[in-house]
């Protein structure tokens, strides 16, 4: 359980962040830049002090202004992976990794050196210096260094933001692997919905120093009132689905969700695996009748629940597909032409290829990245 109640003055706005949530899996702190995400994490770590408030992790109070408790960062036992890595330039990778490890009593070292170097594929880097590492390697070492301090909670502040897409793809499986194999709660700061869908279970939405909502990713992404915060371009629904079949010949995987079947590009996961997928509103088209002779594989019967009121040429519609929420973004012109009103029955047309790897969440990652120890034998 992570309990946070912070009041602080940050430049031109007041931070008043209060939330509590379970610390199973990854908790994502999401918000635009300047929303106060990094400030919240720095206060959690003890690097900056809130004006007033309380911080507790799984019952251990780290800060409580009312009781005069303010543990210094070195006694909070929170691992921190910074956006820029912050590896010590004068130490080898090995010494960087063992920096925190050697500072904790041997009895408390539940995550060992070999375990971490295996998990993160660091064995070949140990003798090198941070200056000789690529951006992705640096972040993996930073991750290992934080893990080896055997923290009670791992903080990750936009650990991928400084990396280009290929480097991101290189580091992401490692984060998924540690989420799936270590029972370590993680607070993950990001402004990328794609990363969050792929990694996180719980979402904390932050805006201008305030917590706007806390909940599951599925719930928060389907709320129209949060749309300005969750982002318009990236807007979409997150739905839970189960793998029900593999089409070897065409390289497709069949999923089943509340609204019916769904074909997606092949996912390396056994039948029965639960996945979380994100379907962006701009990848969903609508038809009044089941169309014929089109290439689109997925046609999901839905009922229109709500029509967004934004001005402009396009409009977002919330659809109910057998209980699951879907979003569609169409032009205002089509809306008028098809005479779509709330309650109307429509078919949501979803291109299978629009659901790519970055749209696949927990569970998928575990199998796409291979089993924890599988591909590490050297």
């Amino acid at each position: 359980m992570l309990e946070l109640d912070l009041t602080a003055r940050l430049g031109n706005f007041a931070l008043e962040a209060k939330f509590s949530c379970e610390t199973t899996g990854i908790v994502a702190l999401f918000g635009r830049s300047g929303a106060g995400k990094t400030s919240v994490v720095n206060m959690l770590a003890g690097l900056t002090r809130p004006h007033r408030g309380r911080i507790a992790v799984n019952g251990t109070v780290l800060f409580d202004s009312a009781r005069g408790i303010d543990l210094p960062p070195e006694r909070r036992r929170l691992g921190y992976v910074f956006q820029e890595g912050r590896l010590f330039p004068h130490m080898s990778v090995r010494r960087n990794l063992s920096y925190g490890y050697t500072r904790i009593p041997a009895a408390e070292r539940s995550i060992g050196f070999e375990h971490v170097t295996d998990l993160l594929g660091l064995a070949d880097l140990l003798g090198r210096r941070p200056g000789d590492l690529s951006g992705g390697e640096k972040q993996r070492v930073a991750l290992g260094r934080a893990l080896l301090a055997n923290p009670r909670l791992l903080l990750m502040d936009e650990p991928l933001a400084a990396l280009d897409q290929p480097r991101k793809e290189e580091v992401l499986p490692f984060i998924e692997r540690l989420r799936d194999t270590l029972a370590l709660p993680i607070v993950y700061v990001s402004h990328s919905m794609a990363e969050i869908v792929r990694l996180a279970d719980t979402l904390v939405l932050l805006s201008e120093g305030r917590v706007e909502a806390v909940g599951t990713i599925e719930d928060l992404t389907s709320r129209l009132d949060l749309r300005p915060l969750t982002g318009r371009y990236e807007a979409g629904a997150v739905i839970r689905a189960e793998v029900v079949g593999q089409d070897e010949a065409f390289g497709l995987t069949e999923l089943r969700f509340a609204g019916g079947g769904l074909w997606v590009p092949r996912v390396e996961a056994p039948i029965g695996t639960e996945l979380r997928i994100r379907v962006r509103a701009r990848d969903v088209a609508l038809a009044r009748e089941r169309p014929r002779g089109v290439s689109i594989l997925n046609m999901v019967p839905c009922r229109v629940e709500d029509i967004g009121a934004e001005a402009g040429p396009q409009v977002d519609l919330r659809l109910n597909a057998g209980g699951a929420a879907l979003w569609a973004r169409i032009t205002r012109r089509s809306l008028a032409k098809l005479q779509i009103v709330p309650g109307a029955r429509v078919y949501a047309l979803i291109k299978a290829v629009a659901i790519d790897r970055t749209s696949l969440g927990r569970g998928a990652g575990r199998f796409l990245a291979g089993p924890a120890e599988g591909n590490l034998e050297e």
């Binding site: 770590a45 210094p72 070195e74 929170l78 010590f88 330039p89 925190g100 500072r103 200056g131 301090a149």
Partner: protein
Amino acid sequence: MNPLAPITPLEWEALRLSLWVAIWSVAVSLPFGVLIAWVLARTEFPGRGLLNGIVHLPLVLPPVVVGYLLLVLLGRQGPLGRLLFDWFGVSLPFTWQGAALAAGIMAFPLMVRAMRLSLDAIDRRLEAAARTLGARPVAVFATVTLPLMAPGIVVGVILAFARALGEFGATITFAANIPGETRTLPLALYSMIQTPGGEAAAFRLAIVSVIVSLAALAVSELLARRLQARLAG
């Protein structure tokens, strides 16, 4: 007298004494230099500007004034000098230790400035990262701050050493010009110029000074480059 003749035992003694005094002055002031550099770079307190001024005073004050103030303060009748003598039986004026003190004080601002520059260049976020990894502030200083400021320490030490080698005004005022005790290279050179027929010896001493200074510069350059390469990245 032949200016190219090998240096005489007297000149050799002046060189040896100079090195001795300079090494001691640097060795003793080094920890204070690191401490003061850290205090000036990292802390904020009411008397900080005053401290900064005092540390830099020898840089702008005529060296003779510094020597005179030392004499007033540390002479047998001076407030500090009397205490030193009564308690420890130590008297600094007219001793090589006194010469080292005078040289150390004159060189101190150069040492502190070089260290402070390197401290200011350290990414403090690295220190914050070390704290999150369980290191107390003292451990952070020893394992992160100090190694990262090493190039500045080397530069500061070499600059201070060179300055101490060349120190004249404060030394002659506070420690006088006693052969074998406080007659360092510059003082010996000065004495030779004052002595009829000492021109050749003075010239040789000048050449020795140039060689020692160049050697110090070369060593500093080499060390700084090595450290810089180690810290790159």
